[in-house]
């Protein structure tokens, strides 16, 4: 009977593994952005990205260089910039109050400041089977266009979809 706890544990693990593989496989859910300034200004040219997917230092670097925002001038009135940075920092992947932020931060070296979510290990692992041609398709145009495939992305739902 010494084996009973072990076998129970093993059986339990197998059941668990059988019921949740889809979640372990891919996709992410984050709380939707609930600040109107962030939603409006960060969502003007692209969807407003989830602040949880980059560390604090990345958002500080991005918001500190809006004059050259990935090749665009995205400058803002100072007060809006401050509002947005405060929100991004409060919800960054390494912010104390961010639930499950660590999975987005995993693999980002402590001395690295990624400026693109697409440069993080979390993103790359979730998209390693997507071809360059798919990202370049006319209705997608760019890796920055999350909603082209993740229709619920604007609401924080980045599930796997066909």
């Amino acid at each position: 009977m010494r084996l009973l706890p072990t076998s129970l544990f093993a059986a339990g693990f197998l059941c668990l593994a059988a019921t949740v593989p889809a979640r372990a496989e891919g996709g992410a859910t984050v709380p939707p952005i609930d600040n109107p300034v962030v939603q409006k200004e960060c969502g003007a040219c692209h969807m407003a990205y989830a602040p949880q997917m980059l560390p604090t230092r990345s958002w500080q670097a991005i918001m500190g260089n809006l004059g050259d925002h990935f090749g665009e001038n995205a400058s803002l009135p100072a007060s809006d910039g401050a509002t947005i940075l405060a929100y991004l920092v409060a919800h960054a992947g390494d912010a104390p109050s961010t639930a499950n932020g660590r999975r987005f931060m995993r693999g980002i070296p402590a001395d690295a400041t990624p400026l693109r979510i697409t440069d993080t290990r979390f993103w790359k692992r979730g998209h390693n089977e997507i071809s360059a041609a798919s990202f370049g398709a006319p209705n997608v145009k760019s890796k920055a266009n999350c909603v082209a495939c993740h229709s619920g992305a604007a609401a924080g739902q980045y599930g796997e979809e066909e």
Binding site: C45, H46, G71, N73
Partner: protein
């Protein structure tokens, strides 16, 4: 004023306000402000031109980002069509006939001219250039 003259004046006033392009006070105020700036920069300024605006809209500029040398890079050559940002997001048509709230929010107009003129031309746009573009797109 004779009754006939009064009727003529009334008719002229009615016709003036019946023109759709005169019906948006917020846009007129933005154009008025730009006209004042243009006049200050050049006392010979004689009004905005939709034709010049169209040329500017379609021109291939230098001095800005190589990826976006023209307004049409994102907005397309047809202002009544939907555009697309470099990141792939749809941009509502700039033509006022398609998107009536265009050029009615002074802060929004200032923000986007500052951004896009820097991105496309590598400099700020003049009051004449801005007024010409708004005049062109208001007639589209």
């Amino acid at each position: 004023m004779t009754p006939a003259r009064f009727c003529l004046a009334l008719l002229a006033t009615t016709l003036l306000f019946a023109q759709p392009s005169f019906a948006e006070p917020a846009r007129d105020a933005i154009l008025g402000q730009l006209a004042a700036e243009a006049k200050q920069a050049n006392p010979a300024f004689a009004g905005f031109s939709a034709e010049r605006g169209q040329q500017f809209w379609q021109a291939v500029h230098t001095g800005g980002r190589a990826e976006t040398p023209s307004c049409t890079s994102c907005h397309t050559k047809d202002p009544t069509a939907e555009g697309r940002s470099r990141a792939g997001k749809a941009i509502a048509p700039m033509a006022v006939s398609r998107t009536p709230e265009r050029f009615t929010d002074a802060a929004k107009v200032a923000k986007w001219f500052e951004r896009n003129c820097n991105t496309v031309l590598g400099r700020a746009c003049s009051a004449v250039e801005k007024g010409d573009i708004i005049t062109y797109l208001s007639a589209q």
